[in-house]
Symmetry: C2
Subunit: 297 residues, 2 copies
């Protein structure tokens, strides 16, 4: 790890991710221009780029090149952006505000937002399958990992479980099952994709990376649930208090705020513990873990 | 080519594609069960599987294995199925009938149909990136080809152009630009994916395969436009006359029925011509070309 402060490193990665997305997305003058403008609107200029940060930080574990990590980070952020665009649609969460701006279907229209999500997903796999990113077998593994994490047994499946859970009583096991899919799978994929972008790992190292990814995925959602009740709409850049208003089960509604905070601390400790053998190469991942949990305090 | 009749061969490929899709799609008991049931509903038990047929037929050009072709054919049919599910949604074509059955959002609900399309697309890339399908570099090429064909500069882009063209006067060049993206790109990809699944091609052979793919992609759409005005809803299994009712430009509205038929014949001749050097290995592709144009007569 360089001597760069975490906050400088974070700005640096956010900025190079923005640049990489800018290059990866088709220009607004390329036909179909309106679709490309909407894809850029939905993806650029916003977001903390947590998945890109995790990917780059995990890449330090295995000495991955910044260029390969940029592409992997773009693919992750594109999948995340697609999921937000579709999640905001009237038939899903019907949200009008995202990252402080009108959501894609409000700024453009529903049909365009549908196609934006579709095409952003495709672009993610386009990037991961384009020649020259890494050794072909490794690249396939990365594409396969992203597909597993985002499909019906990953993120999209988590959305489906979420839909079915509105107004229902879930217990904590069912809630975690939902979150492990809905948010956790892509967060975990971000960590693994970064680590896969470098030198081969021993199977023990890989297990540790996977365990870290699982912990951080859940941690992220616990903190999100806490923020939903404790932060303001302005601070979140999206509508606060929505889960409670929609009677959606959350960590806070199931455990109460103090215990949800305890759960977050326990997940953080477990995550950090799994990084121990990596030494200073894991410093950025540890810092991100701190950052994620500190969003709440 | 075996001595099997075209009709027997077609039934055989349709049946093995159905089996392969059955295996590739998660079972209805795997959580989230409702999403998986809806994915199976939208994909299985219907359709002529034109993209699978083209893929298998093109595989004969390069001696591809039936198993590799099954996976490529599944990926193509999954992308096609996803596009139909999203295309039928109220914010797009708002269609209630597809392959003679209620569309996915009618049978389930809009949110589920949205996720079905999303997850079917992901599954296509999951299949193409899973290890062992072909040599890794070749497999990446196949995944990349499918991504290019289905994204914003392919199929999804064609849908966007289609949206913008409703009620507008297009000329024949603009109409072809739209169709080359909307339908042509995936049809072309079906041909190329099949040919890529086998032995390496010379660059001349590849150019011929691409040219054949371009011709057949347009031919397919010209015939579709002709069918939209000349066939009944029962025969199509979807609502007939929709394009005219929605004032969408078609080959028929621009050229008139006789000239649209002439255009189809010319595309067929061009397609068949490009296959000449392949000899009998191209017989199935030639037969499919006949089959596509004969749907209309």
């Amino acid at each position: 790890m360089s001597a760069q402060s975490f906050s400088d490193w974070m700005s640096h990665i956010q900025s190079r991710t923005e640049d990489a997305l800018h290059r990866a997305l088709p220009g607004e003058r390329i036909a179909p221009a309106r679709l490309h403008a909407a894809m850029r609107y939905a993806t650029l200029g916003g977001g903390k780029r947590v998945r890109a940060l995790l990917c780059h930080a995990a890449g330090e574990l295995t000495g991955a090149s910044a260029e390969t990590l940029d592409t992997a980070a773009c693919a992750l952020e594109l999948v995340h952006a697609y999921s937000l665009v579709h999640d905001d649609l009237p038939c899903m969460d019907d949200d009008k505000l995202r990252r402080g701006k009108p959501t894609c279907h409000i700024e453009f229209d529903e049909a365009t937002a549908l196609l934006v999500g579709d095409a952003l997903q495709t672009l993610a796999f386009d990037l991961l399958s384009a020649p020259g990113l890494a050794k072909p077998a490794r690249q396939l593994e990365m594409a396969s990992l992203l597909a597993r994490a985002s499909g019906s047994r990953g993120m999209a499946g988590g959305q489906a479980i979420d839909l079915q859970s509105v107004g229902k009583q879930l217990d904590i096991t069912e809630l975690e099952f939902m979150h492990i899919h809905k948010t956790g799978a892509l967060i975990r994929a971000a960590v693994l994709l970064g680590a896969l972008a470098g030198e081969p790992m021993t199977s023990e190292a890989r297990h540790r990376v996977e365990h870290f990814g699982n912990c951080i995925g859940l941690l992220f959602q616990v903190v999100d649930d806490i923020l939903d009740v404790s932060a303001t709409t302005a601070r979140l850049g999206k509508t606060a208090g929505k889960d409670a208003a929609q009677n959606k089960p959350t960590y806070v509604s199931l455990l109460g705020l103090p215990q949800a905070r305890e759960r977050a601390q326990a997940l953080k400790a477990d995550a950090i513990e799994s990084l121990a053998p990596f030494g200073p190469r894991a410093d950025r991942l540890a810092q991100i873990t701190d950052y994620i949990i500190s969003r709440e305090f």
